[in-house]
């Protein structure tokens, strides 16, 4: 079975926090190269890893991961403010 592509905001969140891939990798218990694969959306994490990432950033899993292309956070924030 071919897995669906999962979209995520890991790169945006990591840059926003000002941490390197190596630092994030140490926090979530993976190799730093795996963080690169996750950010490029070339690898779908397991449920356990997805929860570890969401716990680290302090956001719900559905905010970080999606099965559809995610809007930029600034766009979502602008929409919320204008509503």
């Amino acid at each position: 079975m071919k897995a669906r592509r999962l979209y995520n905001r890991i790169a945006t969140l990591r840059v926003e926090r000002g941490i390197s891939r190596k630092e994030l990798a140490e926090q979530i218990g993976v190799n730093f190269q795996t963080v690169g694969y996750l950010e490029r959306q070339e690898y779908n994490p397991s449920l356990d890893l997805a929860f570890r990432i969401s716990e680290y950033f302090g956001f719900p899993v559905e905010f970080i991961f999606s099965i559809t292309v995610m809007k930029p956070m600034s766009e979502e924030l602008y929409q919320q403010n204008s509503e």
Binding site: S20, K22, V30, T34, G36, Y37, Y43, P45, S46
Partner: protein, 146 residues
């Protein structure tokens, strides 16, 4: 074909060339310093391409690491590489056994048995095939740092 795929191809082509050269050395009929030189040159090429494909990229460490030292992506990658290379290695061994049997039956070189270079090549192949699968796929990028 990417640079790494070219290196993998050259690595195994040199290994094959080394075995052919040492076969003729063993056979004795066409043995010459040229064939000796080709055999030794092939070993050097195997060594150089092994260093660039397996050693410098960290693929050797990845395929020889203990499971508990790998994360889930690396585990899934090495599992895939090991299962595919197991099939390829089995086919290669069976082809060699068939070739050996034909060499004996057709009286090409009846005294020829499995030589040390051939056994050495098979050991090398068993250790490097999973890594070559990963290199061929284009995984593990050493430049993928910050």
């Amino acid at each position: 074909m990417t640079d790494r795929r070219v290196q993998v191809t050259v690595n195994y082509a040199a290994l094959l060339l080394m075995n052919i050269a040492f076969y003729f050395v063993y056979k004795g009929r066409n043995a010459s310093h040229v064939i000796d030189a080709v055999g030794l040159f092939s070993i050097v090429v195997v060594g150089v391409t092994f260093r660039s494909v397996h050693w410098k990229t960290g693929i050797w460490k990845l395929t020889h690491a203990r499971s508990k030292d790998l994360d889930e992506r690396e585990l899934s990658l090495t599992h895939w590489a090991l299962s595919v290379s197991y099939g390829w290695f089995a086919v290669i061994c069976l082809v060699i056994m068939l070739a050996m049997s034909l060499i004996g039956r057709m009286n090409i070189c009846p005294q020829y048995t499995i030589s040390i270079p051939l056994v050495g090549s098979l050991i090398y192949l068993a250790h490097t095939l999973p890594g070559s699968m990963i290199a061929w796929k284009g995984e593990v990028l050493p430049e993928d740092t910050e």
